[in-house]
């Protein structure tokens, strides 16, 4: 890189000039930091202000634009200049909007912001993307059911080649067996034609789709844009280069043999809803036992689902499927009688109309929990509405509405390294963890213990050659990773997206749509890979971690702690990065005990320079200094919004934004204390079962690391209270001042850091 030419540009607008001395800040820039160019402007974001900076950059006088104005969260596009990196000093939200005007402390804070920005510029380099070798635009779709076939078609319609891999000998998945399907378009009434056959032929007729049946994936290495995927098709192995992967392995029905209490196995005329589909598809409903027509049929809902001993979740589609099947029975034989025994009838959205259709057709809905189904087909249930056990007898058939189990593993394959696999497949979160409540008026109920939920068995779908293990991460109940509400497709394996019932129980229509969504993310992943830019959430980021292997101790912390499995180990156990897998959160950087991992524009050294640049008054001044590392995604915006609301914040606080708490290295904490800061606070997202970290594990890892900081403090003979980790959400703009002011008061009570002035 050409040598750095920093220029400082200070804005007088939005009350800055009225609140602090511009000259003082200018002095900090020019005299203290010897920045050659330093200009002020009445309204820097106005066209003239921007033009002024543009001119300097164009003239080649400045290639590091240091803006002393508003928060980096705003005017981002205005202060973006070709051929220069931009560094922001947050003088507005975090100084003049949250401090009294004209005070000495306010000026000190403003000056320190300029100091930190100047210090940040010293080692900051414009990030250059890492793009080497060839990239593939081909999308691999695993699974030949509705989800997979839909994904394949969507991908080719968007101009991509597809390899579609199906484990069995034909396409179509479960849907091939369906007689008819539930309605998903107006008028949302009776069952509609099962059009899966036309989808199959569309796929088979699509020249850009290479269909591989009787095939499974045996190995997946590499990264988005350049996955090396090995297939085994009837014994022969081939390896292809793949741009991105869509996993559409779907579901399987819950094993009905585990439902003995519901009569399965006791009588051939107790069947599952899946078996019922086949029977209906053959036309004319005949009892398995004697071939007689079944005219009185009972449907038992939640057969396995919503049951802690079986499937704790709701399988979502069963109510509509039973309604469909009942309507089919009623249609075939107007005198037939159908009962649907349910606990909660779930026909969300426009499916409510479908429910009404069944009622109109005379299907009888009875609310209650089924206790038993006898060999004589008597269904005994506890009737919630009539208030006692009512035997439902004289039935010709009983249909158990069994639920969906996600195919997050390949049950037909052997587990690889069972212990390690089990560890990876164990529930990552407890979706039923107790929520925070103020307490109980009466006696508190016993604390719920986390139920031991079954760990999915079988081999991996993709057999990822990742340090973190062969499986696609999952959170709970075997459903593939994404715990995000706003970003449902984000997984912890960049470039690999799941869709359909492997992600969440869903019907055919939703599955087809879900497939389109997953394909879009896959296309983005391979495009970004070839451009060397990051995927969500740091979309477009060109920086990536660099490893100084010369001093690497092969401790493996970076490879282990990376939430995205971006870092592998080479044969010599050195970390090697797969840049297209990396999300640029810096968790590896925070993990590295020898601080040899860094980004061009974010590194242990750059942040150390920043925190060291702050002027630390001696203890006689009575002005403590508190260093805060704030997650730039949530905590930092919350501090900004405190300013927007004009909440006053302790003037002793100095805030440095970090990509994620996961990137915070203990070095920064110890350096800060050595430099004489009186307290250090880490502000990050919630961790745990309801984690809110955009990098999934960052805040949890930081918590883990900080739990050990006590030793460091002891070695420095300092009080543990001087360092604290606070969970701050983006909606904490009112709480942030309280937290910071309280901490600052507490620090004053503890007393000043004895290292001051050393």
């Amino acid at each position: 890189m050409t040598d750095r030419k920093p220029g400082v540009y200070l804005c007088k607008g939005c009350g800055i000039a009225e609140s602090v001395s511009m000259d003082a800040m200018e002095k900090v820039a020019t005299t203290e930091n010897r920045i050659p160019v330093c200009k002020t402007h009445d309204c820097l974001c106005a066209d003239e202000g921007v033009a002024m900076i543009k001119a300097d950059v164009a003239a080649g006088e400045v290639n590091q634009v240091i803006i002393g104005a508003c928060s980096p969260r705003v005017m981002t596009d205005r202060f973006d200049f070709d051929g220069a990196v931009t560094i922001r000093a947050n003088l507005r939200e975090q100084v003049v909007w949250s401090q009294p005007a004209g005070e000495e402390d306010t000026q000190m804070l403003a000056n320190d912001h300029i100091r930190m920005a100047c210090a940040q510029s010293i080692k900051t380099k414009p990030p250059l993307p890492k793009i080497e070798g060839e990239f593939s635009e081909t999308i691999l779709v695993v699974g030949g059911g509705v989800a997979g076939m839909s994904a394949a078609r969507e991908a080719t319609r968007a101009g991509h080649d597809v390899i579609l891999v199906e484990r069995t000998d034909q396409l179509g998945g479960w849907a091939r067996k369906w007689s008819e399907r539930t309605p998903h378009r107006p008028p949302y009434r009776g069952p509609v034609e099962n059009d899966v056959a036309s989808l199959v032929s569309a796929v088979e007729g699509d020249g850009r789709i290479k269909v591989m049946t009787n095939t499974r994936v045996t190995k997946t290495a590499g990264m988005p844009g350049r996955f090396a995927v090995t297939f085994n098709q009837g014994g022969t192995e081939v390896t292809e280069t793949i741009g991105a992967i869509v996993v559409a392995t779907g579901w399987r029905p819950y094993d009905a043999t585990k439902l003995g209490h519901l009569g399965y196995g006791a009588s051939p005329d107790v069947v599952t809803n899946v078996e019922m589909e086949a029977m209906l598809a053959n036309g004319g409903l005949k009892r398995k036992s004697d071939g007689k027509a079944a005219r009185t049929v009972a449907f038992v809902q939640c057969a396995g689902s919503r049951d802690p001993n079986h499937l704790p979740y709701c399988s979502s589609v069963c109510c509509q499927v039973s309604i469909k099947q009942a309507l089919q029975v009623a249609k075939a034989d107007p005198d037939a009688s159908c009962y649907i025994v349910y606990e909660e009838l779930r026909t969300p959205g426009t499916a409510e109309e479908y429910y009404r259709q069944a009622q109109e057709a005379g299907v009888i809905f009875v609310k209650g929990k089924v206790k038993s189904v006898g060999a004589d087909l008597t269904v005994t249930y506890d009737d919630d509405l009539l208030g006692n056990d009512i035997p439902l007898s004289g039935l010709d058939m009983v249909v158990l509405a069994t639920g969906m189990v996600p195919n997050s593993t390949d049950t037909s394959a052997e587990a690889i390294e069972p212990e390690k696999s089990a560890l990876q497949l164990k529930d990552d979160i407890d979706p039923e963890a107790a929520i925070a409540i103020a307490g109980y008026a009466g006696e508190a109920p016993a604390a719920p213990e986390r139920p031991e939920r079954p760990i999915p068995e079988g081999g991996p779908i993709l057999n990822l050659q990742y340090r973190q293990g062969p499986h696609i991460p999952m959170l709970a109940d075997g459903f593939a990773d994404s715990h995000y509400i706003c970003f449902p497709y984000e997984t912890r394996r960049t470039g690999i997206y799941t869709c359909g019932p492997v992600r969440r129980p869903m019907d055919m229509a939703e599955t087809a749509e879900d497939a389109a969504g997953a394909v879009l993310k896959a296309i983005q992943a391979l495009k970004n890979a070839s451009g060397g830019v990051s995927m969500h959430p740091r979309v477009g980021d060109l920086s990536f971690p660099k490893f100084g292997l010369d001093i690497c101790t092969k401790c493996r912390r970076c490879t282990v702690e990376c939430p995205f499995g971006a870092i592998d180990e080479d044969e010599k156990d050195y970390p090697i990065l797969n840049p297209a897998r990396c999300r640029r959160c810096g968790t590896c950087m925070g993990a590295c005990p020898v601080r040899t991992i860094s980004f061009d524009n974010y590194s242990p050294q750059i942040v150390a320079d920043m925190l060291s640049s702050v002027e630390i008054p001696d203890e006689f001044s009575g002005k403590p200094r508190i260093l805060v590392f704030a997650c730039e995604n949530d905590a930092y915006p919350a501090v900004d919004m405190a300013g927007i609301n004009r909440h006053q914040i302790s003037p002793y606080v100095r805030i440095i934004p970090v990509r994620c708490l996961g990137s915070v290295t203990l070095l920064w904490v110890s350096t800060a204390l050595e430099k004489g800061y009186d307290g250090v606070m880490l502000m990050g997202c919630k961790s745990g079962d309801d984690y809110q970290c955009h990098f999934v594990k960052g805040s949890a890892i930081a918590k883990e690391r900080m739990s050990k900081v006590g030793d460091t403090l002891k070695s420095l003979m300092l009080e543990a209270e001087r360092v604290r980790l606070e969970e701050i959400s983006i909606a904490d703009s009112s709480r942030v001042p309280e937290v910071l002011n309280a901490f600052s008061d507490e620090i004053v009570k503890i007393g000043f850091n004895p290292f001051k002035g050393f």
């Binding site: 009838l345 009622q359 009875v366 009737d383 509405l385 035997p391 439902l392």
Partner: protein
């Protein structure tokens, strides 16, 4: 107010439900009930009903013919139509209760019920005179309980009656009648025949 526990040996039996769907006025909409409780909750004297419309409908589906037809729910409907206009499934609750009452009396489930006596007294007047003579309807109704009870009730309400007479709202003398009595009675007789023919009751 709470109902006698339904016979636990009972089996769900659609025959009765289907009979209701087919023969009771509004019964075809009964299958739409989703047991939300809006009707029973809206009823002005729902508290005094043994089951209330919502539960009664569930019992119909359960085929509890005896309990349903001898339920006092049918007879406590004040015809306020609150349930009808509120039902989220557009079930014409009032009409169904009214006609279930009619069917119950047809099938002899309610000979001694006050409402039945009143209805008969009312119809007696309507049929006989073509108009309701409130005075005679009330009297006939009172005396349907027997002479002494009739006199007692009569005396209880004597003050009211006198007040009404004083205000000219109750007349003395011959009942008001329609001129076309004969024709009306013939028409009503015919109507009854047609109905019997159609429902096959």
């Amino acid at each position: 107010m709470t109902a006698p526990a339904p016979d636990t040996t009972r089996k769900y039996d659609l025959a009765f439900a289907k009979w209701v769907y087919k023969n009771v006025n509004g019964g075809d909409k009964l299958s739409m009930c989703m047991q939300c409780g809006m009707c029973s909750g809206s009823c002005p004297i729902g508290v005094q009903m043994d089951y209330g419309p919502r539960k009664l409908f569930m019992m119909i589906r359960a085929g509890m013919k005896e309990e349903v037809l001898s339920s006092n729910t049918l007879w406590n409907c004040t015809s306020c139509y609150r349930c009808v206009v509120r039902c989220p499934r557009s079930v014409p609750v009032t009409y169904i209760l009214q006609d279930l009452a009619a069917k119950a009396s047809e099938l002899g489930y309610a000979p001694k019920k006050e409402n039945k006596r009143f209805a008969d007294s009312f119809w007696w007047s309507a049929r006989l005179f073509g108009r309701t003579d409130e005075r005679l309807v009330t009297a006939k109704y009172y005396f349907s309980f027997g002479l002494s009870e009739g006199i007692k009730r009569g005396l209880d309400n004597l003050k009211i009656a006198m007040g009404m007479i004083k205000a000219g709202r109750m007349h003395i003398g011959m009942p008001h009648t329609v001129k076309g009595r004969k024709g009306l009675q013939a028409a009503l007789k015919k109507a009854a025949e047609i109905e019997a023919r159609q429902s096959g009751v």
